[in-house]
Symmetry: C2
DNA sequence: TCCCTAGTTGCAATTCATTCGCAACTGGTT
DNA sequence: AACCAGTTGCGAATGAATTGCAACTAGGGA
C-alpha cells in the first residue's frame, strides 16, 4: 500500500497527491474512456499484484459489461507507455502493478502466494559491479526471492 | 559451456565424468526409453537454454518421429525430479537447462537474446541477510539481469 | 456547440503453447 | 519368456492472450 519496505534505512516516499495513474495516462496522451477510467481506478487501488482475470472481476463489479479483451488491451497499452509493470512469477500467471517510481524487488511467500516488495540499495550496487565486471551495463533487472515466513 | 563465470574468484567445478543427465535420470528411477535417451543427449549438449520447440527440432534431427508432446512430458518429469530447471524469461517462452549442481543467476543480453550464467557469493549472502531482516528464510530465488554489452 | 476521425470497444473467432485421454507399445524386473 | 506400470503417439481439448471487424466515442478543431 505504501512504498516497499526499505532495507537498511527508509527513504521519504511522499508522492504528489494528483500523480495518479489516471493523470499519468492522460499526460501520456491516452484516451480516457469510461472503461479505462474504471480499470485505472482498480489498478491504483490494488495492493496486491493482480492478474487480468482479477482486474476484470473487480472492474465488472463497478461497471459491468467491460469485456476482458479490453482489459488485456488496456494492460498492453499501459505497459507500452511504462505506466504499469508486467510480472511473471513462477505460478505462471502474468500479473501487474502500477509502475513504481522507485525500483523494487519482490519476496514471494511460497506458502501463501503473497507478494511483498522490498528495496536494497546494496544489492542494486552489487549488481552494477558484477555487470560491469563482465562487460555489461544493466538495462533492467528482476530479483525474486521465494521465501517462507520464519516462525518463532 | 563450462560452469558459470564466477564473480570474485573461481571455484573448482570439475565434475565426475559419468555424472551425466542420463545417469542421474537412471538413478532417479526414470525409465530410459529411446526417446528419452535422445532428449537427454540433446539437453546435455545444449549450451544455450533451449525451449521445447528447439529441443524437439534437435531431437527430430537425430531421431525423427518423436512427438512434441513427449518432449513436453519429459521436461515435466525431469523437472519434477530436479534434473533440469525451468526458466521463464521476459520473452515469454519457457526454457530449460540441466540442473546446475551449483546455483547461478543469469545475464540476458537484451540485444542478442543470449543468456549468460554467473555466480556471486556476495549477492547470495546479501539476499539471506535481507530475507532474515524481514522475517523470512529463502526457499529459492531468481535473479535476472537484463543487460547490454558495453562497447569500448 | 457540433463534427470528424483516430483511437477504442465488444464480440466472436483465432492463435499459440501446453495438457490430456486413450489405445498401443516397451523397458526392465521377476 | 511373460508381465505390467510407465511411456508414447496422436488428435482433441484447454486456457491465456490476440486479432479482425463493425460499431462507437473522446476530445481536438472548425
Amino acid at each position: 500500500m505504501g512504498g516497499p519496505a526499505r532495507d537498511v534505512y527508509d527513504r521519504d516516499m511522499t508522492g504528489s497527491q494528483d500523480d495518479t495513474l489516471l493523470e499519468r495516462s492522460r499526460r501520456s496522451g491516452l484516451r480516457i474512456t469510461g472503461q479505462r477510467r474504471v480499470i485505472l481506478e482498480v489498478l491504483e487501488g490494488a495492493t496486491d499484484h493482480p492478474d487480468v482475470e482479477e482486474l476484470h472481476r473487480k472492474v465488472s463489479a463497478i461497471e459491468p459489461g467491460v469485456n476482458i479483451a479490453t482489459v488485456y488491451r488496456t494492460m498492453n497499452t499501459l505497459a507500452e507507455h511504462g505506466l504499469i509493470e508486467r510480472h511473471t512469477f513462477e505460478d505462471g500467471r502474468t500479473r501487474f502493478e502500477p509502475a513504481p517510481t522507485d525500483h523494487h524487488d519482490h519476496f514471494i511467500d511460497v506458502d501463501t502466494g503473497e507478494v511483498i516488495e522490498f528495496v536494497s540499495d546494496e544489492i542494486e550496487r552489487l549488481q552494477e559491479d558484477i555487470a560491469r565486471k563482465h562487460g555489461f551495463e544493466i538495462v533492467s533487472h528482476k530479483l525474486e526471492l521465494y521465501v517462507r515466513r520464519i516462525k518463532d
